[in-house]
């Protein structure tokens, strides 16, 4: 892995060098005003540190902004409320047992190769996804999404019926993700390599025309497009003529590219560069990754985290306000529960997460954890020693603050930097007491990835968290929206009260766009949409 550390060292070095050089140069460009009416035309240059290795949105989610511009989905998630709204399906009905969904499809929609969008295409896409691993011997995102799917049947050209193996309250939310974007049946027969390198034919506002590996990907406006998501601000073809996604591995080079007007948009610029960018009129869009916030999880398979008192003390022994101020920037909101506010069913539990070191110390005293001369508590000869695993570089300062805060309470915390692969390989066992993970998905089913008994990243089993597992199963099969929300509220309370997880921070993604670019939007799932984007003359 020498190259990797080498590239990190280079990244650190380049950031310093270019920042210094920039500071030496005379001031940047002045901000210019937004155009009054949307400008049509132009090619938007978007810098990414790596381009996706696979452009088929049903196969790969990772970094796949280009592929996601080419497809639409049956339903969408409302940008403000998170509720499910119609898109390519104009309406739908759900059977009382929650097993059958009947969708009515929108008229007049076509794929970019002219094929009509029909019920047969919806069925073909679903069947392709569930049979994908067996057909190609490769995993696919859509296949992983559709674990509850049984079959679908074409009622007529405009009506498709989908049957599930078990009720899945988050099924519609899954369908709103671009991973479930509708693909033309003729694209589904291609080889894995073709689907990845050329992308697929969709009904979306852009089509892929060029893919030069590790260099650039070009998508162009699709003529005649007229069926955007209800989250959009206009109704016909995309404003831009084309988008050129270019690979620029070094963050500081991306920043200079944007300042020198060689680049129009950067996805996730280096946090340190944001003030410099803002000072020159660059617009920063942010997106709070909705789902389970970045949290610390206890290892319930061994002491000391099996002791409820230790977990209770930890929950209020973390000063989340200090962490927000010390480790994150002004765009980051305070974490307030075991879910983020954008997830339907979220409840505000900030009062239960309030920092209270005195009470935390009392809880530990009462449970028999006595403060030792070395500043570390002990009980029955066992020191309060904790191994804390973490992997995600941007949370480093937060991790160090947690270590310092808990040290005051008498915890001896040993930090262990690992990789996500190591965590997955170690699994539920392994030499750790606390672990930090957290990835977005704007539905309460995101709980499963972290709190579920099948999670690769935490220690939960059907035995050590029976109450939690029962509630998780209950919410996913509740088709009554109000009842499900109530259960999701119970789950958040249980997690916070019993210390099943210690929410720490909300992950924020950034987009930086040049002053003459407008309408660069994060969609609900955290990816960028360029359908409403305009670029005026420089």
């Amino acid at each position: 892995m020498r190259t990797r550390s080498l590239s990190r060292a280079v990244a650190a070095g380049t950031a310093v060098v270019l920042a210094t050089l920039a500071a030496c140069s005379s001031g940047g460009g002045a901000p210019s005003g937004d155009p009054a009416a949307p400008t049509r035309g132009g090619t938007l240059v978007v810098a990414k540190n790596t381009l996706p290795t696979c452009l088929d949105p049903s196969i790969s989610v990772t970094g796949n902004d280009p592929g996601r511009q080419t497809v639409d989905t049956l339903v969408d998630q409302d940008q403000k409320t998170g509720e499910i709204v119609p898109w390519l399906a104009t309406k739908w009905t759900e059977s009382p047992d929650g097993l059958t969904y009947t969708f009515t499809l929108r008229d007049g929609v076509t794929f970019s190769n002219g094929e009509p969008f029909t019920a047969a295409a919806v069925k073909a896409g679903m069947d392709d996804a569930v049979g994908f691993a067996k057909k190609y011997g490769q995993p696919s995102s859509a296949g992983n999404f559709l674990t509850a799917y049984a079959s679908s049947s074409v009622i007529d050209d405009r009506t498709v019926q989908i049957t599930l193996k078990k009720p899945s309250a988050s099924f519609l939310q899954l369908l709103s993700d671009r991973t479930m974007g509708i693909i033309a049946p003729s694209s589904l027969g291609g080889s894995y390599a073709d689907r990845c390198s050329k992308g697929v034919i969709g009904t979306g506002p852009f089509t892929i025309t060029e893919n030069v590996k590790n260099d650039h990907i070009t998508v162009v406006r699709r003529p005649g497009y007229a069926w955007p998501s209800p989250n959009s601000t206009h109704g016909d073809e995309a404003y831009l003529d084309a988008i050129r996604f270019v690979e620029i591995p070094e963050a500081s080079v991306q920043t200079q590219g944007l300042l020198s007007k060689n680049v129009d948009v950067i996805v996730d610029p280096a946090a340190a560069d944001i003030p410099q960018l803002e000072a020159t009129g660059v617009k920063i869009n942010t997106n709070n990754s909705e789902g389970v916030p970045s949290s610390i999880f206890p290892n319930l398979t061994r002491a000391p985290m099996t002791d409820p008192a230790v977990r209770d003390a930890l929950q209020i022994g973390i000063d989340r306000e200090e962490i927000l101020a010390g480790a994150f920037n002004k765009f980051t909101p305070q974490v307030t529960s075991a879910l983020t506010p954008g997830v339907p069913g979220y409840v505000d539990l900030s009062s239960k997460l309030k920092y209270d070191p005195d009470r935390a110390a009392r809880i530990l005293d009462d449970a028999g954890w006595v403060m030792g001369a070395d500043g570390v508590r002990a009980k029955d000869g066992q020191r309060l020693k904790v191994i804390y695993e973490w992997y995600f570089a941007p949370v480093q300062s937060a991790v160090l603050l947690v270590q310092a805060q808990l040290k005051k309470l008498g915890f001896d915390i040993e930090l262990k930097r690992v990789t996500l692969d190591q965590i997955a390989a170690e699994g539920k066992g392994g030499d750790w007491d606390l672990r930090m993970t957290g990835r977005p998905r704007p539905d309460a089913d995101a709980f499963f990835a972290h709190y579920g008994a099948a999670s690769l990243f935490t220690s939960f089993t059907a035995d050590n968290s029976a109450d939690l597992q029962a509630l998780l199963t209950k919410q996913t099969s509740e088709t009554d929206v109000a009842a499900r929300k109530a259960t999701i509220g119970q789950i958040q309370n249980l997690i916070v009260d019993d210390g099943y997880g210690f929410p720490l921070n909300v992950t924020v993604r950034y987009g930086a766009s040049a002053p003459n670019v407008s309408g660069v939007k994060f969609i609900y799932s955290g990816y960028l949409s360029f359908y409403d984007t305009t670029k005026s003359a420089k």
Binding site: V212, S260, A425, T437, A449
Partner: protein
């Protein structure tokens, strides 16, 4: 001579095999296989994969087999020229390398030309200028260049020529213009070693008796260096250039990353990050083969160029 060549050839083959085997062991000693990595990346997003699907995927890549079986199978494929399939893209490794190689070859060719020219120029001028101050200044150029990290040279060049003057592209691989800055970045680093070795050797040669004879014949210093000294002093440079070419792929990792060139170095870096084993293995073999071939060529050419090394018994002495 035949025995000599056969011996060198066998040596080269052992180098390539050893590089392949060591890299295989290193890659497979990592805690997680690439398939688990792919599957866990999906699982973090809240999705899951069924056990049957997982087994089908793992079996397809052969990660369920014992290590020795995986090794022998891959070695067998390699011997038949089959480099395998990229785990990330599903394309053949040959396609991926074929797409990246031209860009890297252009970069390497320009870098070697720049490295040799600048290196020779520095060594030559340092030895012919009369002012001892100026000579010291010129002699300090190669150590200075080799002390500056490669990426710093690249960023300085990019800053001046792309962002300030706007005369050259700061990224990409479109045309010769985009090649200039990366070529200079890599070339200047290479020139440091050529300049150092050649400069020192010319200096040493100038102190030998035959140069005194030439001076007595009232030949000018530049002429002595150019026509007589250079021929003798230049030989070690051949070996240095040989080693340099072998190590070029490592050098291109940084240069290609800074200038966003889709070459072999960048491909290697990304493949290591995504644990795309077949691609990493293929690049290691390519790199080791280049190294072995260039050194073999140097070993064979140097005795031809230098008659002193052609005597029996001395033929195996490699000039460093």
């Amino acid at each position: 001579m035949v025995r000599y060549v056969a011996g060198r050839l066998g040596h080269a083959l052992i180098v390539v095999w050893a590089a392949y085997t060591v890299s295989f062991l290193l890659l497979y000693a990592l805690p997680a296989d690439p398939v688990s990595t792919m599957l866990s990346a999906g699982a973090v997003d809240g999705s899951t994969v069924s056990d049957a699907d997982r087994a089908a995927i793992v079996a397809r890549f052969g990660f369920d087999q014992p290590l020795i079986v995986q090794y022998l199978r891959m070695l067998g494929h390699l011997l038949t020229g089959d480099l395998g399939t990229s785990i990330q893209t599903g394309s053949t490794v040959t396609t991926a390398i074929g797409a990246a190689l031209p860009s890297t070859l252009q970069l390497a060719a320009l870098a070697i030309v720049i490295g040799a020219l600048v290196g020779i120029l520095v060594a030559f001028t340092a030895n012919v200028v009369r002012s001892s101050v100026l000579r010291d200044v010129i002699f300090s150029v190669p150590p200075f260049l080799s002390a500056i990290p490669n990426f710093l040279i690249g960023l300085l060049l990019m800053w001046v020529f792309a962002f300030q003057l706007g005369v050259l592209p700061f990224r990409g691989s479109d045309g010769f213009e985009a090649l200039i800055l990366p070529g200079l970045t890599l070339g200047l680093s290479l020139s440091a070693r050529v300049g150092q070795v050649l400069g020192r050797d010319i200096q040493r040669e100038l102190r030998t008796p035959y140069v005194d004879v030439l001076k007595v014949k009232s030949l000018s210093r530049p002429k002595i260096v150019m026509t007589h000294v250079f021929k003798n002093a230049g030989l070690p440079v051949l070996s240095v250039v040989g080693v340099m070419i072998g190590g070029l792929i490592a050098g291109t990792v940084i240069t290609e990353t800074i200038f966003a060139r889709p070459g072999i170095g960048r491909l290697l870096q990304l493949s290591v990050e995504t644990q795309d084993f077949p691609v990493v293995q293929a690049i290691v073999v390519l790199s080791a083969t280049t190294y072995a071939v260039v050194n073999l060529a140097a070993d064979l050419v140097i005795p031809v160029v230098d008659p002193r090394l052609r005597r029996p018994g001395r033929a195996r002495t490699k000039v460093e």
